[in-house]
């Protein structure tokens, strides 16, 4: 990081000498005041909606033609777990997350980072630039590019045709696979950056010593590199998963959750229930479940970072 290392803490004597000139209450105010705008924004526009979410998930609130809503307890949740469309969305979310985040982004990101350690500089710069561009592109643009790529008349089929391999209408036959690939295309750069940073921190002497001792590439990866970067692996998996859980625009642009509901993950299911079917209460119950899953992941992530706060 270019900002340099953390400065040594000031001596306690100097700190008290400066701060003791202010009386306690005024000091508290002076120190607390700067935090106020941020806290107000966060309470009103983030904590507020979350609390409201937890409330309307237990009501039968609808979008139109209803004077007031009433409290229905766990009905929305009971209904959800009996609803085949909901269970389908849970299953597809699982498939999407495992395929694109756990397997795709994570493995490809690590592979790219590991190859970059050995590659020549121009190749490294070129490949890094391309992968990062895919990451920086706006979500909707990425969606269009991959839509064009997977369409029947698109690039993928053109290549398969050229190789004399069977072509098909990917967005119709394997929609969840297509959107998973799209998410890998878009999200791999993040893992690549995290793993490149982690691999750069491994002292060269250790891998060189193992190399001289005759350990091959795979064994060095498995027994030395992976154990040394396991914390980065943990945090990266966590962040990738959370990111993937909330993907909406990419899938919306490519398939709208279709055909039928064969690529309808939870965020798209939530949107459909709340707006196309006007059942805000039910849609919010689904949103709350998504939030709870996210919160569980957050807690695990914080445990991984425990020492650093």
């Amino acid at each position: 990081m270019s900002v340099g290392t953390r400065a040594a803490p000031a001596t306690p004597v100097a700190a008290t000498a400066v701060s003791s000139r202010r009386p306690g209450r005024a000091r508290l105010l002076a120190r607390g005041l700067p935090v106020v705008p941020a806290v107000v924004l966060l309470l009103l526009f983030l904590a507020g909606p979350i609390v409201y979410c937890a409330y309307i998930a237990f009501t039968d609130l609808q979008l139109t033609g209803q004077a007031h809503s009433s409290f229905v307890g766990f009905d929305n949740f009971r209904a959800a777990f009996k609803d085949e469309a909901f269970l389908n969305a849970v299953w597809l979310t699982l498939v999407f997350t495992v395929l694109s985040s756990l397997v795709g982004q994570n493995t490809l990101g690590l592979t790219l980072a590991a190859l970059m350690q050995r590659a020549s500089k121009p190749v490294r710069t070129l490949v890094g630039g391309i992968v990062i561009t895919a990451w920086v592109l706006p979500e909707v643009v990425a969606g269009f590019l991959l839509y064009a790529f997977f369409r029947r008349e698109g690039t993928l089929n053109a290549i398969l045709d050229w190789l004399h391999l069977p072509t098909q209408n990917w967005l119709f036959t394997l929609p969840i696979l297509a959107v998973s690939f799209a998410n890998v295309w878009r999200g791999t750069a993040f893992s690549m950056l995290v793993y490149s940073a982690a691999l750069n921190e491994i002292p060269k002497e250790i891998t060189e010593a193992a190399e001289v001792d005759g350990a091959g590439g795979w064994r060095r990866m498995w027994h030395i590199t992976l154990p040394m970067i396991r914390r980065s692996i943990g945090t990266n998996l966590m962040l990738n998963t959370l990111q993937t859980l909330s993907v909406f625009g990419l899938i919306w642009v490519m398939t709208r959750g279709g055909p039928g509901n064969r690529s309808q993950t939870l965020p798209l299911f939530m949107y459909e229930q709340a707006f196309q079917k006007s059942m805000i209460g039910y849609g919010t119950a689904v949103a709350l479940l998504l939030l709870v899953v996210g919160a569980l992941f957050s807690v695990v992530y914080m445990r991984l970072l425990r020492t650093e706060v």
Binding site: M1, V3, T5, R6, V18, A30, R31, P34, P37, A38, L41, L42, L44, F45, L46, P49, I50, C53, L112, M116, R118, A119, R124, V127, G128, I130, V131, I132, V136, L137, P138, E139, V140, V141, F144, L145, L146, A148, T155, A158, L193, S196, A198, V212, T235, L242, S246, V253, P267, Y271, A274, I280, T284, A287, L290, L291, G294, Y301, M302, L305
Partner: protein, 283 residues
């Protein structure tokens, strides 16, 4: 013997470099195809969905979309929304990070843990209740409501990042200013922020890029077509305008994506290859 092992290792390394280069180039080829499609199609008068080199390069597609209602208004809307959201985020994050980084308090740790927790929450999930709430308090379809929500959703990460950068600025200079009678706000604005310029730039650019590309938030919170940012108005190329003119869609995508790519390059240069953000995110 030692010499022999040395040359053996070296030639093995050269071989490995070649293999690594080949592997990387293969992956890059797969990654570059969709990008090549958008660039080539934007310059092709007869663009379809397939990557191919145009017969002749033309700027007609750009001419066709560079009109107020197609390009300029949505981009201006994006600029207002994301500029406003980013300004609010950066100011609030800088103010909030200052006491967290400078003073010791029993509240710091719980506050930072809450912020870190909020960083990870899937914002997509709360868009339905946010919509319901905005309808109730009459903020739906307003630019300021969307700006506020953008800022709030980006704030946890911005505060976290800002505090980490601020911790890197030595405290001694400020203490001199304090003894000279400067207030905390003065020392923040005059001393700390200028010293952490690259850090502020990273937070600013990162927030802006995240908002610029965000589709779901304006899609939910804005209703009037005239207020839509580019991330939503790009949908108009499908459906509303009849058959899709892929060349124009590609040209618009290029125009809409260029600012964020340039901004990213700007910041990545300054921070040595963009790996800094990866490091910062790591903790």
């Amino acid at each position: 013997m030692a010499l022999l092992t040395g040359t053996g290792l070296r030639s093995r390394r050269a071989g490995r470099r070649l293999a690594a280069d080949a592997g990387l180039l293969f992956v890059a080829a797969a990654f570059v195809l969709p990008l090549a499609w958008v660039v080539l199609s934007s310059l092709d008068a007869h663009a379809d969905l397939r990557v191919r080199v145009p017969d002749g390069l033309t700027l007609d597609n750009f001419d066709a979309v560079l009109k107020p209602d197609i390009t300029f208004t949505p981009l201006l809307n994006s600029l207002v929304l994301c500029g406003g959201g980013t300004a609010l985020t950066v100011v609030c994050a800088a103010l909030a990070a200052y006491p967290l980084s400078r003073f010791r308090s029993r509240l710091n740790r719980p506050f930072l843990l809450t912020i870190l927790f909020a960083t990870c929450l899937p914002i997509t999930a709360i868009m339905v209740p946010v919509y319901a709430l905005f309808v109730r308090v009459n903020l739906i379809d307003t630019v300021q409501g969307t700006v506020f929500f953008f800022a709030a959703s980006q704030l946890p990460f911005a505060i976290w990042l800002m505090k980490n950068f601020m911790d890197g600025v030595p405290k001694e200079l400020e203490e001199a200013a304090w003894t000279d009678g400067a207030s905390s706000l003065q020392s923040l604005v005059r001393i700390v922020l200028p010293l952490m310029g690259p850090g502020v730039a990273v937070v600013t650019v990162f927030s802006f890029v995240m908002m610029w590309g965000n589709f779901f938030v304006p899609f939910m919170l804005l209703l009037t077509p005239d207020q839509m940012p580019a991330s939503v108005s790009i949908n108009d190329f499908f459906g509303n305008r009849g058959t899709v003119v892929y060349g124009q869609l590609a040209a618009f995508s290029v125009i809409y994506s260029t600012p964020v790519i340039l901004l990213y390059v700007l910041v990545a240069r300054r921070l040595g290859g963009g790996f800094a953000l990866g490091g910062a995110v790591k903790g």
